[in-house]
């Protein structure tokens, strides 16, 4: 039987204890040390030795925008060209969904055709729901979008939808093409893979800064950022899906004499289609997430409503828009998942039927669109949902929050203060106190201990980069907030995951809850937190915990459920109680999986943490946010890279630990 004690070897315990003790001492007394030795460099990285990276990047960007030229055309022409490519379709989608088509500019604009009526749009979505799965999904689609109309969120929602509508095809097709290239040419894959890895860890805000600089404030920038953000998973999924096509199926293509082109488009891609659709679903969800964040650089729509509400502390408005985002996220997620798993009708339709009968939904949608267009001449309420009939939940939410704040203010405040003074502040003091030089040494040592020379060089250099960029203090705040949040998220998530693994009914409830949590755009998490706890580290922590909870639960449940049943039987036979079974067998065996879960939790926590800069944290996220407001590319990129480096260090160390744990448990083949 495997005991926890055996797993944690003695020398390991000694190493970590001593390392922690030294770090703690240095952190406590770094100030005194500086006074005694009169060596200011101990607590502050010397400004003279700072890497001039920020200004270098800034001037490079400046050069790029102003002077760079490729002979025939300048860089500026290139960005303008890209912008025009995106702008056309986007304007069309926007006109179609909400604005209506018009010619001319400004006051001289003349409307030539109205947008689709709200009824037509809802009917279209209902039709898609029914086509993709069944009446239940159709009803959900109808309900969700009706909600948006009735509760006065229609206009913003349509602007957001237009962005998603443009970003998704570009992101999906672009990702597909890149994935196909990577599948065909190994060299290209080797080039693109580290880029994808990096892009996954660079916080979303950091994308915005250079894009804002290149494309200016407005929906085009937002779309570019969204596309770049949503494309990587599609590339990954494409590579994986193409690799997963059974080699025999590929051989069939070759044997019937396919050309390369036919092989890809008639055999590989269709065979991989179900998995590719999973990628498309991800692109949709990520696009929605990013479109909302990108409201900061001019995407407009629901995200903009939330943002302004947050800035004005308009509780009701914020929650209203937030709920609308949630509704839309759920609708889009369910719809695209249904398309991904849709099975074609089992028998082909009789081609002799008239066109209308063969395509009942297309016909219905067309009839409704044209019908409402005509009727709207008489009844404007058909064109756009009548203002008078909208309901507002704004005051309702405001009242609730006010009620809670009036009656439970003391409780909330007490909880908040307790957390702050017993957990957050001491941990913060610990991390911020660590002298940068020792920090580099510690990370090098940990890297060496866990993964050998290669890893230690990497962790050391990355840590040094952060220190040398003059961002040490901010980075430590990030580490502390992330650490505490991850700790709490794991403390809640792992037991919940264990519960889900051992109890089927709990599993079902927890699963659907986690599913929903995961579909919500990160922005949404900020709203209730700010309403209840206002700004500050505590609010940030709660939002991060909520956002990062899912992987902790998922991986714990998965790990426990995947423990070799023979081991469990062995435990049962030797008379373990359920408790002993859990502690002595299941948990130790699930350790590698738990570590992977921890890894994912940290990744999500970091990406959320940057967004919490909006609620006033003073960490790297704030730096990125400042860079964004000042369009300072240098600062934005350096701070963004620092966050990415923290993420990469955590990822590599935990992966190496998980690998070691697996080897120790004999789980590797």
């Amino acid at each position: 039987m495997i005991r926890l004690r055996q797993i944690i070897q003695h020398s390991a315990v000694r190493f970590w204890t001593i390392l922690f003790a030294v770090t703690w001492l240095l952190s406590q007394y770094s100030w005194d040390l500086y006074k005694v030795l009169d060596a200011r460099w101990i607590i502050k990285y010397p400004a003279a030795a700072r890497l001039p990276l920020e200004s270098k990047i800034s001037s490079f960007m400046q050069w790029l925008v102003e002077d760079a030229s490729f002979g025939l055309f300048s860089f500026r022409d290139l960005t303008r060209f890209i912008a025009s490519l995106i702008e056309g379709p986007y304007d069309f989608a926007r006109d179609l969904l909400i604005e209506g088509f018009s010619v001319g500019l400004g006051n001289e604009a003349v409307e030539i055709a109205p947008s689709l009526s709200w009824i037509a749009i809802i009917v279209t979505l209902v039709a898609m729901g029914h086509y993709a799965r069944d009446w239940k999904l159709a009803a959900l689609m109808g309900g969700c979008f009706l909600y948006l109309a009735v509760f006065g969120q229609w206009d913003s929602a349509m602007i957001t939808l237009a962005s998603v509508l443009i970003a998704v095809p570009i992101g999906a097709v672009g990702g597909l093409m890149l994935g196909i290239f990577a599948y065909r040419w190994v060299v290209f894959e080797q080039v693109i893979r580290p880029v994808l890895d990096l892009m996954q860890t660079v916080p979303v805000f950091a994308y915005l800064v250079p894009i804002l600089f290149l494309f200016g404030f407005g929906p085009v920038s937002a779309l570019v950022a969204t596309i770049i953000y949503a494309m990587p998973p599609m590339v990954r999924v494409t590579i994986l899906a193409l690799r997963n096509v059974p080699s025999e199926v590929k051989d069939v293509g070759v044997m019937v004499g396919c050309t390369k082109h036919q092989l890809m488009w008639k055999v590989m891609v269709p065979s991989a289609a179900p998995m590719l659709m999973v990628g498309v679903n991800q692109v949709i969800m990520l696009s929605l997430n990013m479109v909302i964040i990108a409201s900061m650089i001019g995407a407009g729509g629901l995200g903009f409503d939330v943002l302004t509400a947050l800035r004005r502390l308009d509780i009701g408005g914020g929650i209203e828009a937030g709920v609308a985002i949630v509704v839309m996220a759920i609708a889009l997620d369910r719809l695209s998942q249904a398309f991904a798993t849709r099975v074609a009708a089992d028998h082909q339709l009789d081609p002799d039927l008239p066109l209308v009968k063969r395509h009942p939904w297309t016909t219905t949608v067309l009839v409704v669109a044209i019908g409402t267009f005509l009727l709207a001449r008489l009844l404007p309420g058909i064109q756009s949902y009548p203002e008078a009939a909208t309901l507002s939940t704004g005051t309702f939410w405001s009242d609730i929050i006010r009620y809670i704040n009036v009656n439970y203010f003391d409780t909330f405040e007490a909880v908040k203060t307790a957390f702050l003074s017993y957990l957050l502040l001491p941990v913060k003091r610990f991390f911020v106190g660590i002298p940068w030089a020792w920090g580099i040494i510690v990370m090098t040592m940990i890297g060496w201990r866990v993964g050998g020379l290669g890893l230690s060089v990497m962790t050391g250099l990355f840590t040094a980069f952060i220190a040398a960029s003059g961002l040490w203090d901010k980075a430590m705040v990030t580490v502390y907030l992330c650490g505490v949040s991850v700790l709490i998220a794991s403390g809640i998530g792992i037991p919940v995951g264990i519960l889900a693994a051992q109890n089927d009914r709990a599993n079902r409830v927890i699963n659907s809850l986690i599913d929903t949590l995961q579909t919500l755009p990160s922005f949404v998490y900020l709203i209730p937190v700010v309403m209840l706890f206002r700004v500050g580290d505590f609010s940030a922590m709660i939002a991060v915990v909520l956002y990062a909870l899912a992987p902790a639960v998922r991986y714990a449940a998965h790990g426990i459920r995947n423990v070799d049943p023979q081991l469990i039987e062995a435990g049962l036979v030797s008379g373990c109680t359920p408790r002993q079974l859990l502690w002595r067998i299941k948990l130790p065996m699930a350790l590698p999986e738990l570590l992977l879960g921890l890894n994912q939790t940290i990744m999500l926590a970091l990406s959320m943490l940057v967004i919490t800069a909006l609620v006033g944290t003073r960490d790297l996220g704030q730096q990125v946010y400042i860079a964004l407001t000042k369009a300072d590319s240098g600062l934005g990129i350096v701070a963004g890279l620092s966050v990415a480096f923290i993420a990469i260090i955590a990822d590599r160390i935990l992966s190496a630990s998980a690998k070691r744990a697996k080897q120790r448990l004999g789980l590797t083949s």
Binding site: D251, M255, V256, G257, P270, D346
Partner: protein
């Protein structure tokens, strides 16, 4: 009267691992098993030479991992051999351009796969028509042809089903139909029935023989099942660790196994299923009364009851009707119960 050679494969090698072709070249195209092992290479196919003749069923058999699939994939150039020569209708397959190769595959080769490899998004009819679609044939024409082959393999009425709605046996019928749609000259089948359960497998073998009687294709058939091999084969190549150990008719394999391995392989096979009267009779004319006349090419299994039931020996006739020998009850009984005699 030998039939012409359709596919001629000489000294073909397939070696997996780093720098396989360098090692192959350094040892003048003939590295020993030991060299390969020392270099950490896998000799999936080693020095294979086979000639496939027009109209025959050529079976390649061997245990799992012996290199059968690799050899056949080399023959169809699905994988690039490390060395050797492959001539198809006298043309060198290995130096052929992609374009010529595509042309040959489109018109002259067909292949059936172990796991059916149907395209999940196409119906039965569309799957069968797929090779024709790739060739650019018009929809009406190719679907008409696909309908024919689907009917040929006994799936009429299921043209609009999707693969996931079919049983394993039915799926393989679609696989067969698809490979037949282009009327290939050379037909590769890589363990087409081994994913099926024994009853269906038997049924599919009968089906296969029926089709071959209709179509007279040149066939390269892979199996690891000796029973299947002797049921179908004109000639068998036995593979072991990437090498072809022996190429012979089923009967020769049993009568003259080239190595202990082949002998071991064929030991449990009921002799009566393989041996013909010609190979076990006592040669020379018979005097006295006889029970009747039998053909030298008949398998013992098929006439055992008849011989056993009679006290008298039977005359054995060659193809032109002359008496070449005789056979009596004793020999047949010995063979049936597996007693080691005279062989």
């Amino acid at each position: 009267m030998e039939k012409p050679i359709l596919l001629d494969c000489r000294n073909v090698w397939k070696i997996y691992g780093a720098q396989a072709s360098r090692v192959h070249a350094e040892h003048r195209g003939n590295p020993s098993a030991e060299t390969l092992r020392n270099q950490g290479l896998i000799g999936a196919v080693r020095n294979a030479s086979v000639q496939i003749r027009q109209g025959e069923i050529f079976v390649i058999m061997g245990l799992s991992g012996s290199g059968k699939s690799t050899l056949v994939r080399c023959l169809s150039r699905l994988i690039e051999p490390t060395g050797g020569e492959i001539l198809f209708e006298g043309q060198d397959l290995l130096t052929m351009s992609d374009k010529e190769l595509i042309e040959i595959r489109r018109k002259k080769m067909g292949m059936v796969f172990q796991h059916f490899a149907l395209l999940p998004h196409l119906t039965v009819l569309q799957n069968a028509a797929f090779p024709l679609e790739i060739q650019g044939m018009g929809k009406a024409e190719r679907e008409a042809r696909a309908r024919e082959v689907v009917e040929l393999v006994g799936l009429k009425g299921r043209e609009d089903y999707y693969p996931r709605q079919l049983s394993g046996g039915q799926q393989q019928r679609v696989g067969i139909a698809r490979s037949l749609a282009v009327e290939p000259d050379l037909w590769f089948l890589d363990e087409p029935f081994s994913a099926l359960d024994p009853l269906i497998r038997r049924e599919m073998q009968d089906e296969f023989l029926r089709l071959q009687n209709l179509l007279h294709k040149t066939i390269v058939f892979i199996t690891h099942d000796f029973d299947e091999a002797i049921r179908l084969a004109d000639r068998i190549a036995v593979m072991k660790d990437g090498e072809i150990v022996q190429i012979a008719t089923p009967e020769e394999l049993i009568l003259n196994p080239a190595t202990d391995y082949v002998e071991e392989f064929t030991r449990h096979i009921p002799r009566s299923k393989v041996l013909t009267l010609g190979s076990v009779m006592s040669p020379g004319a018979v005097a006295g009364e006889v029970g009747g006349d039998l053909q030298a090419t008949q398998r013992i299994e098929d006439c055992a009851d008849q011989i056993e039931a009679s006290d008298l020996p039977f005359r054995v006739l060659s193809e032109d009707g002359t008496v070449v020998g005789s056979i009596g009850r004793q020999v047949v009984v010995d063979i049936l119960i597996g007693r080691k005699v005279l062989l």
